[in-house]
């Protein structure tokens, strides 16, 4: 048995990296167990001619398609939206687009303002300093003054508008709708040892340039230099407890499949909205027969995804196509609740520049716009470099019947039960998706699109995994308290998207990391009486 460590973190992704870095200044002995590897950017797809093919293969967003040794399978057959993730040091930030919005003040008060779901036990002002700290560590780019947000500052200027951004900006202006250059986790200048973006166009399968802020090149180098130990290829099976009902450590498998026990004074779970409930539900004992920290019965419940609508326009003029960071501008015209729209809450439009030659072909072939056989080339050229558009990121409200449970049959390579997803799209989400498609079509037409291609929800688009170990002050209605400590286990903390009370209508990574820094700060302020 290894010597006990002070803090053991499970998962080296967006939140695990942030909490590790923040706690490192305490000089406690901190170990992070990660089932994936350190990634080598020189092997990312954009370094090869097959860069688009690999985004459908070994660098796919789907663990079930990717099937790396470091992945675990997910049974999402009973969900219209499939789980997307990545397992490595850096987690899903390896593959994310780097679209980096914050939550809004209203997102923390949905019950008070709109009468749905629950208010968060914290508010925007509580998180604001941690958003700012995270912006500095990740290196965000953006333009100050967005009227959709309280004042905030990005350390670097925004990514370029390009042809695509300009074209759609004119469409939004014609309709009098909000738009603004997106906040991105993409360096537009040299920053903290990283070089600037050179518009590789392959953000979604790893940034070989190092401009995109994945946590393996942002937080982790600082945390490791400060003394945090990262052990890769270590897959945690369960969190163990002692006779007092406190977490005593974890049981994990190393690369050779050898079982180990690592004792710890504090355990922090950072496996996000599917991995975290999977681990807690698999951590059963006499004291916790229904899974660890699950006296509320809410571990694995209230799964929220963000249903996505894709609305793409075909233009007669060239757009940015395969060049540039995928993201450029956003619109939050339909973000705040308006009862006349027929749904509560709202969504963000994340505008994408375009797509590569292979993705263009597949979009055209699958939608019937590019025929098989004669006529292929003419039709292809009408689409190549001429498609641009947006996705609508719809707020998903928490519903207890949307769940992550343990699959009774499917297992990973170590015999650990795989997660099973049961998820139904709500009527509110359907209406919101319809609205996003209709208004997105309107703005694309205003911008000059001659054809529109839509998909809602995006079946493969379960990028955002939230709500399955929610935070709150009532132990019967939440899993962790208002600073991330499990109600049932006083030395167990959760810092990832699973503690979200609601999902907002924006990409969650910036908020996940701000929460991780906030929980770490709360722990540091209470070190003398952390377990009281």
């Amino acid at each position: 048995m290894a010597d006990a460590v002070d803090v053991l973190i499970v998962g080296a992704g967006a939140s695990g990296a942030a909490v590790a870095w923040s706690l490192a200044e305490t000089r406690m002995r901190i170990v992070c167990l990660e089932q994936g590897d350190w990634m080598n950017p020189l092997r990312y797809p954009s370094t090869g001619r097959d860069w688009e093919a690999r985004a459908f293969g070994d660098m796919s967003i789907s663990p079930n398609r990717r099937r790396r040794d470091t992945d675990y399978p997910v049974n999402d057959a009973n969900s219209p939206i499939a789980v997307a993730n990545f397992n490595a040091v850096g987690g899903s930030t390896i593959l994310y687009a780097g679209h980096f919005p914050r939550f809004h003040p209203s997102d923390f008060r949905v019950k008070t303002l709109d009468g749905v779901a629950d208010d968060w036990p914290i508010d925007y002002d509580t998180l604001e300093p941690f958003y700012a700290e995270n912006d500095r560590m990740m290196g965000t780019s953006g333009l100050d003054g967005d009227p959709a947000y309280p004042p905030k500052h990005a350390p670097m200027p925004p990514v370029p508008l390009g042809k695509s951004g300009q074209t759609l900006a004119k469409g939004f202006n014609q309709l009098g709708w909000h738009w603004w250059p997106s906040d991105t986790a993409i360096a537009t200048q040299p920053y903290d040892g990283r070089d600037r973006c050179i518009n590789l166009g392959a953000c979604g399968s790893g940034c070989a340039q190092g401009a995109k802020a994945s946590t393996d090149i942002t937080y982790w180098p600082h945390a490791v230099r400060a003394g945090v130990e990262v052990r890769t290829r270590c897959r945690v099976r369960e969190i163990t407890v002692n006779d007092e009902g406190m977490a005593s450590g974890v049981t994990y498998y190393d690369e050779e499949g050898v079982e180990h026990f690592q004792a710890a004074q504090v355990v922090i779970v950072a496996c996000n909205g599917v991995g975290t409930p999977r681990l807690l539900l698999n951590s059963t004992s006499g004291k916790f027969p229904n899974g660890l920290a699950n006296s509320s019965g809410l571990v694995g419940k209230n799964l929220m995804f963000h249903p996505y609508a894709s609305i793409q326009g075909v233009f007669e003029e060239p757009m940015d196509g395969y060049k540039g960071p995928g993201v450029c501008i956003w619109s939050q015209e339909f973000y705040e609740t308006d009862a006349e729209r027929g749904f509560v809450r709202g969504y963000t439009y994340e505008i994408h520049r375009g797509r590569g030659p292979v993705a263009t072909a597949l979009t055209g072939l699958h939608s019937g716009r590019i025929p098989l056989g004669e006529g292929h080339h003419e039709a292809y050229r009408r689409m190549f470099n001429r498609v641009t558009g947006m996705v609508g990121i719809c707020e998903d409200l928490p519903e207890e019947h949307n769940t992550v449970t343990l699959d009774p049959e499917l297992e990973d390579a170590h015999g650990i039960p795989a997660p099973k997803i049961d998820y139904t799209l709500s009527e509110n989400s359907r209406r919101m998706l319809d609205h996003a498609v209709a208004r997105g079509t309107e703005v694309l037409r205003a911008a000059g699109a001659v054809d529109i291609i839509t998909e809602a929800p995006i079946a493969a688009g379960g990028w955002h995994l939230m709500g399955t170990a929610r935070m709150g002050t009532d132990p019967q209605r939440s899993v962790v308290n208002e600073w991330g400590r499990a109600h049932d286990v006083r030395n167990l903390f959760i810092v990832d998207g699973s503690i979200f009370v609601t999902s907002a209508g924006v990409n969650p990574t910036r908020t996940i990391q701000a929460l991780a820094l906030y929980v770490a700060d709360s722990m540091k302020k209470r070190l003398a009486n952390l377990f009281d």
Partner: protein, 170 residues
């Protein structure tokens, strides 16, 4: 008889059928000076890639053969060029009036995604095809690409409109 071990999941006939099918899906085009997917270099790339998806590809080839036999009494690979083209292009406008053939068409279309993905991946990374699209035949990294900055004065009407977010109670 001794046999030679091979990692090729396809028979010779399946390989010929796959290349014939690919060539019918994206034919050569002289106006754009591009080869078809049955070009030897592209075909070799397709065969190598298809091995990693052998089950899906074999199933797709089998469906093409069943449809070809139902219509022409011969396997796809044995059809002449016009018949191959005709069968492929039916997928653009399915619905012959024959229920059994239409069902086969629909099943074929559903099963084609993996095959189309392989064909598109291999075709649109060929040097000749990329040049015909005014692309440099290279990987994105390390040179990257230029993207124009754009006209930031477009933001003026958004600034003039002012705040659009809601305040919330603490």
């Amino acid at each position: 008889m001794d046999s030679i071990a091979t990692d090729n999941p396809f028979t010779e006939e399946q390989e010929r059928a796959l290349i014939a099918l690919a060539g019918a899906i994206i034919p050569a085009n002289s106006a754009y000076a591009v080869p078809g997917t049955d070009d030897p270099l592209i075909a070799a790339d397709i065969l190598a890639t298809a091995k990693r998806h052998a089950d899906a590809v074999s199933a797709a080839l089998d469906r093409e053969d069943r449809l070809a036999i139902a219509r022409h009494g011969a396997k796809f690979v044995d059809l002449d060029a016009a018949a191959r083209q005709s069968q492929i292009e039916r997928a653009n406008q399915p619905g012959s009036g024959d229920d059994a053939e239409d069902e086969l068409d629909r099943a074929r279309f559903r099963g084609q995604r993996a095959m189309l993905s392989i064909i598109a991946q291999c075709y649109y990374r060929d040097d000749r095809v990329m040049r015909s699209l005014d692309m440099e035949p290279r990987s994105p990294f390390p040179e990257g690409f230029e993207v124009e900055e754009g006209d930031w004065s477009l933001l003026e009407p958004v600034r003039r409109r002012g705040k659009v977010y809601r305040d919330a109670p603490r």
